[in-house]
Symmetry: C2
Subunit: 500 residues, 2 copies
């Protein structure tokens, strides 16, 4: 094979995989947005056929040979090709270690698990979900042993979502966080509670939807390449390339902030996904570098920017326009305080900035012990409840609002959670860096996201998956990651709000 | 190869093709429903990759060998297998006659043509569209010559949409129709015009949407397997199998009947598509037998049933519920007369029952002459306008409302139009047959579609593509097709309405 021919073949392969990805992502998106209720089995029939095709394409003998050939000539490849081939080879070498029959069994388990988890959550019945989760944990340990026998199995899990991240780094990070957040939370809890009356009430769905589009435009999303839909759980997905991104939200009539911050959070993901350099489209370098970096963007826009006094001052008149009667008699300051109300609660996705990381720590602790064989699945609910009491001081009334609340484990995503907390902390340090060039606070007062988006584009988005997450982080920060920047940020903000 | 093994392979092949079809149909559906505006090129990138894969799969050497093998053992196949292999072989043998490079060029032309046609229609600029249409006509003639050199090229075109239908049959049919419809129309035009004031006004979109769902339920669609969306042009599509069907409509605020009859028309297609026997799912026998049979269903529900006095009597109180102020002061009889107002008009899709077939005849006449080399593309607009004057007595003010109105030619669908008219006529004869078992009129007065759907299911829907259209027709009718049943129906109905 000539190098030139191999390059053409590789380009074609990447385009095929992107096309399959477009198809399967859209089928899933359709399933949770517009598909009629009774069509799930029809969709899963198609998805199982397409996944098998995609799997054979990505891991087949011809592809393996092509990748090994390109790797053998890597000195002649461009930087982009090198990174692309490296990532593809990493995947294929890992897949080769997993026997085909086990892989298929696992895929089937995933379909079953999703369905069982939904039922278990609905009926708050952990026992229903337990056997399935036991199998998922067993599979995860088995795959860790096959793919990375030299690694701590939980390190293998974390690395799947945040290349290079380790338990050791997470431990240090969470210890640092805990030592500052727990006392901060205690001090807050001793102060009078803030009122969130101004964001509660009855908010018309259509008005919320119009407001959502306005928010998307405000944070700088290009609506001709980013769509909005309604789903039970908000999420972001790319279809085929960064040129077609969709975010979803859920409108809570009784609280306007739920959809507002879902839109800004998913909008942060969408900005990142859309921001890849154009020549990365239809390659495996398109999109985000890793989930910790992804969450750094979503949580930066949602919290650090979206819940800042400047942004609320800017957006309040817009809220008055869409929700005139609900906002009557309130000020921007009321909204600012309401959306920053700190209160230990049961549900992670609805948690405030201060308690959020505690929710993640609980999951991290449980996952780690599961992967280290120090905790059995059957003991998860009691351990979950014990930790919620210990970290957040609250009693968990049911597994539905407890151990069954997140879809991650049923989706096999063990090791994902740390990314949420790490991302939050990266965001604070990105902000400090941005402030060297731009007065971010001033931008927020005028709803001007341009300089912020420019900074993110030039330091993060445009690279897609070109850089390893650690490299990207170091490049963007120009200094090592320091979690105290985040805890300082939290302490300063909430000391002022709660008059500590 | 063993027969058993070949059967397994064939089943798998059919499932793969159904999965590809699901993916490409959904990508197209997404494109006209929810996709952001600027994402067309991203979609066409994915579609071109998937179409090529699908093409290779459907026509590759391995598939051809498999089909030839199965065909050589056809005596041992079930009836279903025989028909399925026959249809697949018919396609593949045709494809084999078209050189790969020409096929790809044609596919590219289709993408271009769609885009150019949209622009041309918007600016009412036929000259813009002309070169593209000339290439489409040339390709069509070329493919006809390659695939069916023994046939009249227009017969080849018609057969693509209505297996077995010929120019000869169409000629006879249209002559019969014309000799009855033209005088009928003349007599109607001499009578005082009906008022359609009751269906005109300002109809809230949300109310129209709710009404659309109620109509879907009324005609017997299962909403857990049939969805509704909004597009510029109403259509029906199946995703993967008959278990997931989507219809679309367009809400005209100023006239409630537009969406109402789009929903019932597309609903007729959807009932047919959904009605295939379950064991036809994921095979090439799933769905409708041919476009003429398909249109027989859509136009039966839309016109013969949906515009009957019985149905209007039943649905009028429902309309009063959704549109109380607009319906105030009107009666069911007013609505019945309004939705049956006959008036020569420019746009086929908005034409009434009497003039509809004249619109089709004009297109049929033009297509036939194009395919016979008796008409050049450049002369289409003037011929179009001349025929509208001759058949309908009206002047065409612009190509946008004239020769550029339909998307069929830009989509390469030369030969499709006759199916609309034939289908309308089949419907009338189906009705006569149904009436032998059920009092259809009585059913309509109570909005009871069950016996009608049962009849259609047992005589038409369940077979999918198992039977040739002619067989299906003969089976269902138990007598030869007779277009006078349709013209008698029209004459009787409109003599009464217009008091002729």
């Amino acid at each position: 094979m000539e190098l030139k021919e191999a390059r053409v073949k590789y380009k074609k392969l990447q385009e095929k995989l992107a096309a399959f990805d477009h198809a399967t992502s859209l089928i899933n998106f359709d399933g949770v947005t517009t598909a009629p209720k009774g069509t799930a089995s029809n969709r899963s029939q198609t998805l199982s056929v397409l996944s098998e095709e995609e799997y054979l394409l990505a891991t087949g003998k011809e592809t393996a040979e092509l990748l090994e050939f390109l790797d053998s000539r890597r000195d002649e490849l461009t930087e982009k090709e090198k990174r692309s081939v490296y990532l593809a080879l990493k995947d294929i070498r890992e897949m080769q270690k997993i026997p085909m029959d086990e892989y298929i069994e696992y895929q089937k388990l995933m379909v079953e698990a999703d369905e069982v988890w939904h039922r278990a959550k609905e009926t708050s019945d952990f026992e229903l979900f337990r056997p399935v989760l036991e199998r998922i944990v067993k599979f995860t340990l088995r795959f860790a042993g096959l793919c990375a026998p030299e690694k701590d199995p939980y390190d293998y899990c974390i690395d799947r979502y945040a290349e290079g991240l380790t338990t050791e780094t997470c431990d240090r990070f969470f210890d640092a966080l805990k030592s500052r957040i727990v006392p901060l939370l205690k001090r807050i809890s001793e102060r009078p509670q803030i009122s969130d009356a101004c964001i509660c009430g009855d908010f018309d769905k259509k008005a919320q939807e119009d407001f959502a589009y306005e928010l998307m435009k405000t944070i700088g999303l290009d609506l001709s390449h980013c769509g909005l839909a309604e789903t039970e759980h908000p999420f972001t997905t790319s279809l085929g390339s960064h040129r077609d991104v969709r975010i979803t939200t859920n409108y809570h009539r009784e609280n306007v902030s739920y959809s507002m911050y879902s839109v800004i959070h998913e909008g942060g993901h969408a900005l990142y996904d859309s921001g890849s350099d154009d020549d990365l489209a239809y390659t495996n370098l398109d999109g985000g570098a890793a989930m910790n970096i992804h969450e750094s963007q979503s949580r930066l826009y949602e919290n650090i920017l979206g819940r800042s006094r400047g942004f609320i001052t800017y957006i309040f008149p817009v809220m008055q326009k869409y929700f005139p009667s609900q906002m009557a008699g309130y000020t921007a300051e009321d909204v600012y305080r309401a959306v920053n109300m700190v209160t230990p609660s049961l549900i992670r996705t609805e948690a405030d900035e201060v308690t959020y990381c505690l929710h993640v720590m609980i999951r991290y602790d449980l996952e780690k012990r599961l992967m280290h064989g120090e905790l059995e699945v059957k003991d998860l609910p009691s351990e979950w409840n014990r930790l919620y009491k210990e970290y957040l001081g609250i009693n968990v009334p049911s597994d539905r609002e407890g151990v069954l609340q997140d879809s991650h484990w049923s989706g096999g995503l063990i090791g994902y959670f740390p990314s949420y907390a790490l991302g939050s902390a990266y965001g604070a340090q990105f902000l400090r860096k941005m402030n060297e060039e731009t007065d971010v606070e001033k931008c927020m007062y005028s709803g001007n996201f341009k300089p912020i988006n420019e900074w993110n584009r030039n330091h993060i988005w445009k690279y897609g998956r070109m850089l390893k997450p650690e490299e990207l982080l170091e490049n963007a920060l120009g200094e090592p990651f320091d979690p105290t920047v985040y805890t300082d940020y939290l302490e300063k903000k909430y000391t002022e709000i709660y008059n500590l």
